[in-house]
Amino acid sequence: MRLLKFGRLGLILLLLVLCLSGCWDIVPIEERALVIVIGVDKVENRIRLSAQVPTIKNLIQTASNFTDRQKPMVKPFVVESSSMLDAIQQLEDRIYKSMIIGEVKIIIVSPQVPRKDLVNMLTIFLRQPMVSFQTLVFSSEAKPEEIISSESPFDIQPGLIISKQQRSALKMAHSFPIELWDFIARVDNRTLDPYLPVIRLDQENKSYLLQGINVFNNDKIVGTLSSDESYLFGILTDKVEEGYKEIIVKGQEVGFGKVKYKSKIRIIRRQNQDKIRVDVNAQGTLLEIPKGFPNRVKTYQLFKKEMEKQLQQQVLSFVKKLQFLNTDPIGFRKQMEVAGIKNWDEVYPGIAVDAKVHFNYRNFSPAF
């Protein structure tokens, strides 16, 4: 028993000593360069890496004598190299602080990054043990370093603003987030194509514009969806949570709010022809009623019918655009594979599409 008591005491002491090893090489937060946004570009066959490093002292949210709101909250760094790892090392060589690349929350990829490099570059981040698999990936319209170098008007670190803005469920209408692991899994599985939301600088308002989506065929960018098309993408993937929707009736705009969608995709197999069938169920509240339309049941019926008709046409033309671009970020090909269409990859661009939309009023507007 005495041996056990000594053993117990010794074990506790030894574990405490082991814990102390963590204090040995501790790096205080002021000494860390926590890269939160990173940009990846390729210029003349060289990788151009940009990083946004917060100046911790000016980032502290609470009022403090040490906080100077006038000073910039971030310091951008841009380096060029022939390889990704060397570019990361180049960044390390330029920052006196200990660089913590594992804190990256946003990766912005330039459309200039060639197909063969894109997945390799992104998987380097996925392989970093500290980088969260939930890191958001964006596509920039111009150079990512322009976004990285911009100052935000808000008192929050810009990278965190982008993350908050993109993840906010109520804003999901024209842009939808994709996480690092999801992008890579889509490329790995080769049925559901990845996509990247587009980020732009809003110079006028000194903010970020998250609108539109770049679509891929496996790992190759094949086109861009406008903000309206992105909305349709959101409808078919059930990502639009509380959206607005406008239609034109007799040359005038009719608007709905709090529109929710539930979509169902099916593959109908017939002897002579296979077909994709898209069923969309929508619910919303009437918000915008043009002059001249009386407050009658018939008006409501007319708007409902027009909403169904116009949305159906939009869905059909949207799916046809995806087929034309030979991209499928929705999951039609996966449905075709499950339905037993063997050469789904070849069949997809030419398969017939049918859409049906059913709209219902969610509730009354408080005023007419």
Partner: protein, 358 residues
């Protein structure tokens, strides 16, 4: 020979079973299996249930003898070779388990802590737990059983990320590769065989239904875990990850705010570590007590053997390189998972040829 009552044995059994599924996830998710990994668990379950009936018949026929004593009595010279070989395999299996866990800890959480320190810390705790004996371990396991509902909550949260088309029923007959993977059927059930044969004879004899229910619950938990992994990462995506369950937890969101990004991973880490410590300690007790019984040693001498085995486990976990582990782990897991059922079956066959021991 100390035996555990069902109240103490069942928590150890449950935690060890779940730990094996969570630790050797990479080996269960085999390239040829695709998204059907969860199905092999159910095949293994059916085989293991049959094995438990065999162990029950042995426990009824020889109520005062452990599996080690039975090996010696019924197999004669074969038992003299078979039992030490079994110990060696379980020793190596414990090394692989400890290395899987400590590698995961070093890679995902304590990446600045030297691997040697993580392994030392791990075995100090495991050694101490084992030194207190199986009864103390049983009591600790009863407390740590609350980790199972916590893990279930994390698992249910991860279901939100599943693409159900990846686990559509058509995949079951489309990829029948899992039917050839006999070694995988048994791998995660190895602790069930070992612990039931050594610690659980009393529970199997008196509380057989509870033991079966524990295995059913464990099988469902692990089946659901592998279903979630396949559904999230897809047939080709699952091959990418070194620790698929940890990766599943990594992508699971508690809330969309960045403050909670790694909350699930952190909770899972503590759950997984607690389960792993119990499992390794239970194997260590099996090795020390089993070897003590085989060599006919006294209880005090068994404790010295336990310390020696702990030191041996530490050395063998810490010294080999990553390449050494990559080269040997797969083969070792196959051999260890098939040897245990075969050895127990051999003892059972021999018992059929003998009259009841009075």
């Amino acid at each position: 020979m100390d035996r555990l009552t069902s109240k103490l044995f069942i928590p150890i059994l449950m935690l060890s079973f779940v730990t094996f599924g969570l630790s050797f996830d990479r080996f269960i998710i085999d390239r040829s299996i695709g998204v059907n990994a969860y199905l092999i668990i159910f095949i293994g379950f059916l085989i293991t249930i049959t094995g438990l009936f065999i162990l029950k018949s042995l426990a009824i026929k020889y109520p005062d003898r452990s599996i080690i004593g039975l090996g010696d009595k019924l197999l004669g010279p074969i038992g003299k070779i078979g039992t030490p070989l079994w110990f060696i395999l379980i020793f190596l299996l414990t090394v692989v388990l400890a290395r899987r866990v400590t590698d995961e800890v070093s890679t995902v959480i304590l990446f600045r802590t030297p691997g040697l320190v993580s392994i030392l810390g791990y075995f100090l705790i495991v050694g101490y737990m084992a030194l207190l004996g199986e009864e103390a371990l049983g009591r600790l396991s009863s407390v740590l059983m609350m980790a199972i509902p916590v893990f279930l909550i994390l698992l249910v949260l991860s279901f939100r990320e599943i693409n159900f088309l990846n686990i559509h029923p058509v995949n079951i007959y489309r990829n029948l590769g899992y039917l050839r993977k006999w070694d995988l059927w048994l791998l995660i059930f190895t602790p069930v065989w070992i612990l039931s044969a050594f610690f659980g004879t009393e529970s199997i004899r008196n509380e057989f239904k509870k033991v079966i229910l524990t295995i059913i619950i464990g099988t469902l938990i692990l089946g659901a875990t592998f279903l979630a992994i396949a559904g999230v990462f897809g047939p080709r995506g699952i091959e990418r990850y070194q620790w698929p369950v940890m990766s599943l937890m990594n992508i699971t969101e508690f809330a969309s705010s960045y403050l909670f990004l790694n909350a699930i991973t952190t909770v899972f880490f503590f759950v997984f570590l607690a389960l792993s410590l119990v499992t390794t300690a239970s194997f260590l007790i099996f090795l020390a007590k089993g070897l003590g019984e085989f060599l006919g040693l006294k209880n005090n001498q068994s404790k010295i053997i336990l310390l020696a085995i702990t030191a041996g486990l530490f050395a063998l976990t810490a010294i080999p390189s990553l390449i050494n582990f990559l080269e040997t782990t797969s083969l070792l897991l196959k051999v260890a998972s098939i040897y245990t059922p075969i050895y127990i079956l051999l003892i059972w066959f021999s018992s059929l040829l003998r009259r009841k021991d009075h």
